[in-house]
C-alpha cells in the first residue's frame, strides 16, 4: 500500500507536472528548431512570439466570452485559438516581410539574423506590454479538474490523492495531436517535403524549382501556430504574464539544442528531458520517500536537491553536459 501511495505521490507531483511542462516546452522547441532548420538562425524572439500568440488568444477569448459564447466544460480559449493563430501568423509574416526578407536577399551572415531577432524581441515585448500590460492574466474557465483528489481517494482507498487539472489533460492531448499533424505534414505533403528538402540542402532545393519565399512563409505560419498553441497551453496551465514568456527562452532553447537544433524529433525529446530534470531536481521528494522508507530512516529535510529558483540552472547544466559529449545534440542536429 505504501508503495502505491508513493507511486501516486510521485505521479501527482512529478510525473504529471513534468509531462505537462514537457509538452509545452516541446511545442516551443519545435518552433525554434524549425526556424533554425529552415531559416537558419536562432530566433531569440520566440518567447515573445509565444507571448504575442497567447495575448491574441486571450483577447479573442474575452471577446467570445463577452458575447456569451462558452465551450461547456472546456476552456473558451480553445475556441479562440484559431483566431489567435491567424493573428499571430499575420504578425510574424509581416515581421518577416519588414525585417528578415531584406537580410535574406542580402545573404547576410546568420549572426545578423540573430541580432535582428533581438530587435524583433524588443519590439514584440513592447507591443505585448503595450496592449495587455505587464500583469497576470488568468483566462482559464470551464471545468477546472478532470480528476479530483477526494474522488480519487474514495475510489482507490489510498491515503494519497491524485488530481489532474483540465489544463494538464488538455496540454498533453493537444500536444500529441499537434505533433502528429506536424510530422504528417512534414513527411507526407508536398509542401512539407519541400520544406525538408530546403532545410537539408538549400541550393539543391532551389535547383529543383522549390519557391523559397513560399517555404519561408509556410514555415512562419507553422511556427506561429506552434508558438500560439504552446503559449496558450502554458498560460492556461499557469497564468499569462509577458515576462514569464521571455524567461521561457532558456529552457526552450536548451530543449532544442539538447535534442539537436533543426531536428524536430530532437526538440520533443529535449523538451521532455529538460522538463523532467527540472521538476525532479527541484521538487521536494520528502513525501515520496516517506512512504517508501521505514520510519526510522525517514528523511528530516525536504529532500529537495536544489531550490526551485535554480530551475534555469538545471536546463543549462544538462545543455552543457550534452554538448560536451555530443556537440550537435542527442539527435544529430545541424550547424550553420
Amino acid at each position: 500500500m505504501d508503495f502505491l501511495n508513493a507511486l501516486v505521490a510521485l505521479t501527482q507531483f512529478v510525473i504529471i507536472p513534468a509531462t505537462t511542462y514537457g509538452s509545452q516546452l516541446a511545442l516551443g522547441a519545435l518552433g525554434v528548431t524549425l526556424i533554425y532548420g529552415i531559416l537558419r538562425f536562432s530566433n531569440f524572439a520566440h518567447g515573445d512570439t509565444m507571448a504575442f500568440g497567447t495575448m491574441s488568444t486571450i483577447l479573442f477569448t474575452w471577446w467570445l466570452q463577452s458575447m456569451g459564447v462558452s465551450f461547456g466544460p472546456l476552456p473558451t480559449a480553445l475556441l479562440a485559438l484559431p483566431f489567435g493563430i491567424a493573428a499571430t501568423s499575420l504578425f510574424v509574416i509581416g515581421t518577416d516581410r519588414v525585417v528578415y526578407r531584406f537580410f535574406r536577399a542580402q545573404k547576410a551572415a546568420p549572426v545578423v539574423f540573430v541580432i535582428a531577432a533581438m530587435g524583433v524581441m524588443f519590439v514584440y515585448n513592447g507591443v505585448v506590454r503595450f496592449i495587455i500590460g505587464v500583469g497576470d492574466q488568468n483566462f482559464l474557465d470551464g471545468e477546472r479538474f478532470i480528476l479530483r483528489a477526494r474522488d480519487f481517494k474514495e475510489w482507490s482507498g489510498l491515503r494519497e490523492g491524485l488530481t489532474i487539472k483540465t489544463s494538464q489533460g488538455l496540454t498533453v492531448i493537444t500536444a500529441v495531436i499537434v505533433v502528429a499533424l506536424l510530422f504528417w505534414f512534414l513527411n507526407k505533403t508536398r509542401t512539407g517535403k519541400s520544406m525538408r528538402a530546403f532545410s537539408d540542402n538549400e541550393d539543391l532545393a532551389l535547383l529543383s524549382g522549390i519557391n523559397p519565399e513560399r517555404v519561408v512563409m509556410v514555415t512562419w505560419i507553422i511556427v506561429a501556430a506552434l508558438a500560439t498553441i504552446a503559449g496558450t497551453l502554458y498560460g492556461l496551465d499557469k497564468s499569462f504574464k509577458p515576462f514569464t514568456y521571455f524567461q521561457l527562452l532558456l529552457p526552450i532553447f536548451a530543449a532544442a539544442i539538447v535534442g539537436g537544433l533543426g531536428n524536430p524529433l530532437g526538440a520533443i525529446a529535449g523538451g521532455f528531458l529538460i522538463a523532467f530534470a527540472e521538476v525532479t531536481i527541484t521538487y521536494p521528494l520528502k513525501k515520496v520517500l516517506g512512504y517508501l522508507m521505514p520510519e526510522s530512516l525517514e528523511p528530516d529535510g525536504l529532500v529537495q536537491l536544489l531550490s526551485t529558483d535554480y530551475k534555469f540552472a538545471v536546463s543549462f547544466v544538462i545543455l552543457i553536459a550534452v554538448l560536451l559529449v555530443k556537440p550537435t545534440g542527442l539527435f544529430k542536429g545541424q550547424s550553420v
Binding site: S42, L261, A313
Partner: protein, 433 residues
C-alpha cells in the same frame, strides 16, 4: 562625410543632448544620465572587445555586471564576525568539498576508461554532492540565523569601496574563465545560449544565497567613495561656496556628489578606452581581427584561436564586471532582483550595434546615446501620447490605456532603433575603419 569629422560631430551631438537635458529637466537629471551613460559606455566597450574585436557572441552580460555588483558587498561592507564564527568555516568547507568532488570527477574522467570510469564519476559526484550539501547547509543555516533582520550574511572585508571596482572585474574574469573553458568550443549560437544560461544562474545565486549577499533582502547603505550629503550640508565652507553660485545647500550637495562620481567614472572610461584603442591598433589587435574575419586562415597561420578567444572573452567580461561594480557603487545598494536580461544584456547589445561594432569610439557613443534615449523615451512618449489623445474624450478607455502604456514604449523604441540601424546603417553610426 569623412569619418574623422563624423566622430567629433556625433559626440558633440550627444553632449548637446545631455546638456540640453540639463537646461530643460535640471542639472540633477543631466548628471544622472551622464553618470549612467559613462557606465553604459564601459559596458559597451566590454561587449565590443568580445564582439567587435573577436566576433564572440556573448549574451550573458547581465551575469558579469551582477558579479561586479556583488564585489561591492564582499569588499566594502563590514564583516559580520558573529556569522563568521557561527558558520563561515562550514560554508567554505562545504564549497571546498563540492569543488574537490568536481575536480576528482574530472581527474577520473581523464585517468580511467570504460565502465569503471562512468561508475567512478557517478559515485564521486553523488557522494560529493551529499557531503557538500550536509556541510554547506549546516553552515548556511547557522549564518542566516545571526540577526536575520539586519545581517544574516557573512558581510564583507570592510575595505574602501573603490577596491571593489577592480575586484568586480576579477570576479567577472574568473566566471568568464570557467565559462570560456567549457563553452568557447561551441559554435556561435550555442555559445550565445550558454552565456544566456550562465547569466541567469549567476543572478539566481545572488537572489537565493542569503549567506553571501542577503539575497532578495538586498544590501543597503554600501559605503560611498564621495562625501556624504548631510556632512556637506553642515559644512559652513561648502554652504558659503554654494551660495556664491546661487545654489541652496541641498541642491549644491547632490550636484557636488554626482559630479564627484562623474569624475571617477570618466577616469575609468578614459583609461579603458585608451587601453582598448592601443590594443586594437597593436599587432595583437590585428591578429584578433584576422581571427574574427577568417578563423580557418588564422589557424592555418599557426595562431592559437581557442586561446585567443578565451583571452578576449575574459578581458571583455572583466570590463563588464568593472562597470557593474561601478553601477552598484553609484546606487549605494545591491538589488539582485533588479538584474533583468532586457536591460543588462540586450540593451548593451543595442548600444554596441547602434554605435558601431569594432570601433571603440562607436561603442562609447552608442552607450551614451542609447542610455539618453532609454531615459528620455518615457517623457517624450508621454508628450506624444498627450498630443495623440488630445482629441479624445476625457474618460475614454482608449485614452487612459494609451497614457498608461507609455512606460512600455521604451522596449518598442529600442527594438525599432536596433532594426533601423541594422537595416540602413549595418555597421553602426561610427563604423569600423
Amino acid at each position: 562625410m569623412s569619418q574623422s569629422l563624423r566622430t567629433p560631430l556625433l559626440f558633440t551631438f550627444v553632449a548637446c543632448l545631455i546638456i540640453g537635458t540639463g537646461f530643460v529637466q535640471g542639472w540633477n537629471s543631466a548628471l544622472l544620465i551622464l553618470n549612467m551613460g559613462l557606465i553604459s559606455a564601459i559596458m559597451a566597450l566590454g561587449v565590443n572587445l568580445q564582439w567587435g574585436f573577436a566576433g564572440l557572441f556573448n549574451v550573458g552580460v547581465m551575469g558579469f555586471v551582477a558579479l561586479g555588483g556583488l564585489a561591492n558587498v564582499l569588499i566594502a561592507m563590514p564583516p559580520t564576525t558573529e556569522a563568521w564564527a557561527a558558520g563561515g568555516l562550514k560554508v567554505f568547507l562545504g564549497l571546498a568539498i563540492g569543488i574537490g568532488a568536481i575536480i576528482a570527477a574530472v581527474k577520473s574522467h581523464a585517468r580511467l576508461s570504460g565502465h569503471t570510469r562512468i561508475w567512478a564519476i557517478v559515485a564521486i559526484l553523488i557522494v560529493g554532492f551529499f557531503a557538500f550539501r550536509a556541510m554547506f547547509d549546516a553552515g548556511v543555516a547557522a549564518i542566516e540565523e545571526v540577526n536575520p533582520a539586519v545581517t544574516g550574511y557573512l558581510g564583507g572585508l570592510g575595505l574602501p569601496v573603490l577596491v571593489a571596482w577592480p575586484v568586480g572585474g576579477l570576479l567577472a574574469a574568473g566566471a568568464a574563465w570557467v565559462i570560456g573553458k567549457t563553452a568557447l568550443g561551441l559554435r556561435s549560437d550555442y555559445l550565445a545560449i550558454a552565456t544566456l544560461g550562465i547569466a541567469e544562474i549567476i543572478v539566481a545565486i545572488l537572489k537565493n544565497e542569503v549567506w553571501l549577499a542577503r539575497g532578495v533582502q538586498n544590501v543597503y547603505g554600501l559605503p560611498r567613495p564621495v562625501p556624504d550629503a548631510i556632512e556637506l550640508q553642515n559644512n559652513a565652507g561648502f554652504v558659503e561656496r554654494a551660495a556664491e553660485f546661487g545654489l541652496d545647500p541641498i541642491t549644491a550637495s547632490t550636484l557636488y556628489i554626482k559630479m564627484g562620481y562623474s569624475v571617477l567614472f570618466t577616469i575609468v572610461l578614459v583609461i579603458l578606452l585608451v587601453m582598448a584603442q592601443k590594443s586594437l591598433n597593436s599587432p595583437w589587435g590585428r591578429m584578433m581581427r584576422a581571427i574574427r574575419d577568417n578563423e580557418d586562415a588564422a589557424r592555418a597561420m599557426g595562431k592559437n584561436v581557442t586561446k585567443r578567444h578565451l583571452q578576449i572573452f575574459i578581458l571583455g567580461s572583466a570590463v563588464c564586471g568593472i562597470a557593474g561594480a561601478m553601477m552598484t557603487t553609484l546606487d549605494g545598494q545591491l538589488l539582485p532582483g533588479a538584474y533583468q536580461p532586457l536591460r543588462f544584456t540586450f540593451l548593451v547589445w543595442v548600444m554596441v550595434i547602434v554605435g558601431g561594432s569594432g570601433n571603440n569610439f562607436g561603442s562609447v557613443l552608442g552607450g551614451f546615446l542609447i542610455w539618453w534615449l532609454w531615459v528620455q523615451v518615457e517623457p517624450i512618449g508621454a508628450g506624444l501620447m498627450q498630443v495623440i489623445t488630445a482629441g479624445m474624450a476625457e474618460d475614454s478607455g482608449l485614452r487612459l490605456h494609451l497614457l498608461d502604456s507609455v512606460a512600455h514604449m521604451r522596449l518598442l523604441t529600442m527594438g525599432i532603433i536596433l532594426l533601423l540601424v541594422l537595416r540602413f546603417s549595418p555597421r553602426g553610426l561610427i563604423p569600423e575603419k
